[in-house]
């Protein structure tokens, strides 16, 4: 028994999950690349695979039509790409703006309050984003809660258009991703030793000076980690632009959905997915590079 575990246990532990992930995560991505180079057709399935093997032997006929199509109608695809980056970027910024004071407060409060506040941060993280976006719609709608109050208070007569604007996207993103920004920021701020702040004060630094020269520089790892955690899922977001955004806020995640479900153009949907992956890889590689710099 012991011999068996020594010999094979390790291999099983490694290869069981590895095989699963290769089969159901890696292989799908390869298949998606395959489809992105395939010819679209009106049939089931609606494409003619570039690479296939079957009774007729192995054939490989890649076409670049799908990428060419994106290039040709670039205006239809460029704006969603630009929107994805723009909306994700500013969402990250707004998350940082709200998360920093929250993380600071949590990191510097006493143990019992800290537990309560951390649970308060984690609870929304666990509940469905779809449902929270729905709750947000109830607030932002022309006949929603905020407009009701504004009209009742006499601030405005006609409802203010908040849905289907950049504002509604940002509100949705902040509501969804704020916890992901708070947690790494909290982790870096809680490690900050109180005596370091006192040392700075002892050496003549005022409050703002302490923040600028001590607290902020020491929380940069948290800022980078949090920004990545928000930016990456925000770029590929589907639910938020679909429910809260209008045509001006079209993002790549929603374009993939539309191409796939509405236009049934699977090869083009795959090609866009590959472009989306490229957009996401860039900041990750950049962060890795920064990380290595920091070590040396």
């Amino acid at each position: 028994m012991n011999y068996f575990f020594q010999r094979f246990g390790r291999q099983i532990v490694i290869w069981l999950p590895l095989a699963w992930l290769l089969l159901f995560f890696m292989l799908p991505l390869i298949e998606m690349i395959n489809v992105s180079f395939s010819e679209a057709r009106r049939a089931v399935p609606p494409y003619n695979p570039a690479f296939q093997f079957g009774p007729g032997g192995i054939s490989f006929q890649p076409v670049v039509d799908n990428y060419y199509l994106i290039y040709e109608y670039w205006e239809d695809y460029l704006w969603p790409a630009v929107n994805s980056i723009r909306l994700a970027f500013f969402s990250t910024l707004y998350c940082l703006l709200f998360a920093y004071p929250m993380a600071w407060w949590i990191a510097r409060s006493n143990k019992s309050l800290q537990h309560i506040l951390l649970i308060l941060v984690l609870m929304p993280f666990w509940t469905s984003s779809l449902l929270r976006m729905y709750a947000l719609i109830g607030l932002l709608n022309p006949n929603g809660f905020i407009n009701d109050i504004l009209i009742w208070a006499g601030v405005t007569v006609i409802p203010i258009q908040m849905m289907q604007t950049d504002f509604s996207i940002y509100a949705g993103m902040v509501l969804t991703y704020l916890p992901l920004m708070i947690l790494p920021l909290y982790a870096s701020l809680v490690r900050l030793d109180g005596s370091i702040i006192e040392a700075a004060a002892d050496l003549g630094a005022r409050k703002w000076d302490i923040f600028k020269t001590i607290i902020l520089p020491l929380s940069i790892p948290g800022i980078i980690a949090g920004s990545l955690l928000v930016f990456i899922p925000a770029v590929g977001e589907f639910v938020i632009p679909a429910l809260l955004g209008g045509p001006e806020q079209l993002m790549l995640g929603k374009v993939i959905w539309t191409e796939f479900f509405r236009n049934r153009d699977w090869p083009v949907a795959s090609a866009i997915a590959i472009i989306l992956i490229a957009i996401i890889i860039l900041p990750i590689v950049y962060a890795r590079y920064q990380d290595k710099e920091g070590i040396s």
Binding site: E198, L203, L218
Partner: protein, 357 residues
């Protein structure tokens, strides 16, 4: 001469708990003063009050005649060296040391030359571009010292300055701190729970317990004339004997512990009064045969421990009286034989410290 530093009636309460209880003392310029006490005795709180991080409930703190009460920590002519140094991990040694200077109106060239001076003082020249995490414990300690000294404070506070160093490094650093202090003439207050550290470092020691300053004096006074059994017990090794005053015999008092003991003391006692006798281990001699000296009785040797320069014994006498004693190896003695099971102890009447029971 008016005191350079005057601390009057300082108290600090947290709810019902008195962290610092009515502490007063004065320091002259250039003193190296130690606050000694067990953890939780309030010494660190007092230090933080002096640095300005905590506000005392009552009392006053003056430096050179200036009241520090409403002065922000940033403006006090007081700097502190933190227990774990609190070096800024993202700044080089140079930027750590110059941090305080960069918050003054000094020109850059002046700052640079002053930092170089300090680096030389703490023997770290050439390390100015290193980051704290690449330094050894002793080097970090010296950077922290240089950083705290950079603004030329009138008073430097050191919170357990040697606690984080290993034993060998500790004794070297002790002397170094003394040397730097003498060289600069700055007034130092060191907080420590280590009585050996306090003894070797300081010109004067204040012993604290439960928020109160119990005794203040030179290391010799604290060791040889402790005023309470707490001080006697906390500073150095000691054995206690419960005794009752029997009678006054001209120069000596006769006291009855388990055995009759002659005590030489200037104080006055009432016959029948209960007292506590305290004996330092090195003041007791152990012999294999009776010597006929005063205050001698037979003991069983419980165990002993070899300390290189001497041996420490634990012995038990009549009625279960336990004593700790220390025999130096420079006086050849048969008592130092491990075979010995019983022996005789004696001590002079002058060696006995009489404390209230």
């Amino acid at each position: 001469m008016a005191p350079f530093i005057s601390i009057k009636n300082i108290s600090k309460k947290y709810g019902n708990f008195s962290a610092v209880d009515n502490v007063s003392f004065n320091l002259q310029k250039g003193e190296l003063f130690s606050l000694l006490g067990p953890s939780g005795c309030g010494k660190t709180t007092l230090l933080r009050i002096l640095a300005g991080f905590e506000v005392s409930n009552t009392g006053s703190f003056e430096i050179d005649g200036h009241d520090m009460d409403n002065v922000d920590p940033a403006d006090r002519p007081v700097n502190i060296m933190f227990q774990h140094y609190a070096l800024f991990p993202h700044m080089s040694v140079f930027n750590n040391i110059s941090y305080g200077l960069r918050r003054t109106s000094l020109p850059k060239s002046e700052i640079k030359s002053r930092v170089e001076e300090l680096l030389e003082l703490v023997r770290l020249s050439g390390m100015s571009e290193r980051k704290p995490k690449t330094l050894s414990g002793g080097q970090k300690q010296r950077v922290a010292l240089a950083r705290a000294l950079a603004r030329r404070p009138k008073l430097l506070l050191l919170d357990e300055p040697l606690a984080a160093l290993d034993k060998k490094l500790r004794s070297d650093t002790q002397f170094e701190i003394c040397k730097i202090q003498e060289q600069l003439g700055t007034t130092f207050i060191v907080v420590t729970h280590d009585q050996e550290e306090a003894m070797t470092l300081s010109t004067r020691i204040g012993v604290m317990n439960e928020g109160k300053l119990i005794q203040l004096g030179t290391p010799k006074e604290i060791y040889e004339q402790p005023q309470t059994s707490f001080v006697a017990d906390f500073v150095g090794e000691i054995s206690f004997l419960e005794a009752v005053v029997k009678e006054n015999k001209n120069t000596h008092w006769l006291m009855q512990a388990a055995v009759p003991i002659y005590v030489s003391s200037d104080s006055n006692f009432n016959v029948g009064q209960k007292v506590k006798l305290a004996l330092r281990p090195e003041k007791i001699s152990l012999t294999s045969r009776p010597t006929g000296n005063i205050n001698e009785f037979k003991v069983d040797i419980l165990d002993f421990a070899f300390y290189g320069a001497g041996t420490q014994y634990r012995v038990i006498g009549p009625e279960g009286v336990k004593l700790k004693l220390y025999q130096s190896h420079n006086q050849p003695s048969k008592a130092n034989s491990p075979m010995l099971k019983t022996g005789f102890v004696n001590f002079s009447p002058e060696a006995i410290i009489v404390l209230e029971s």
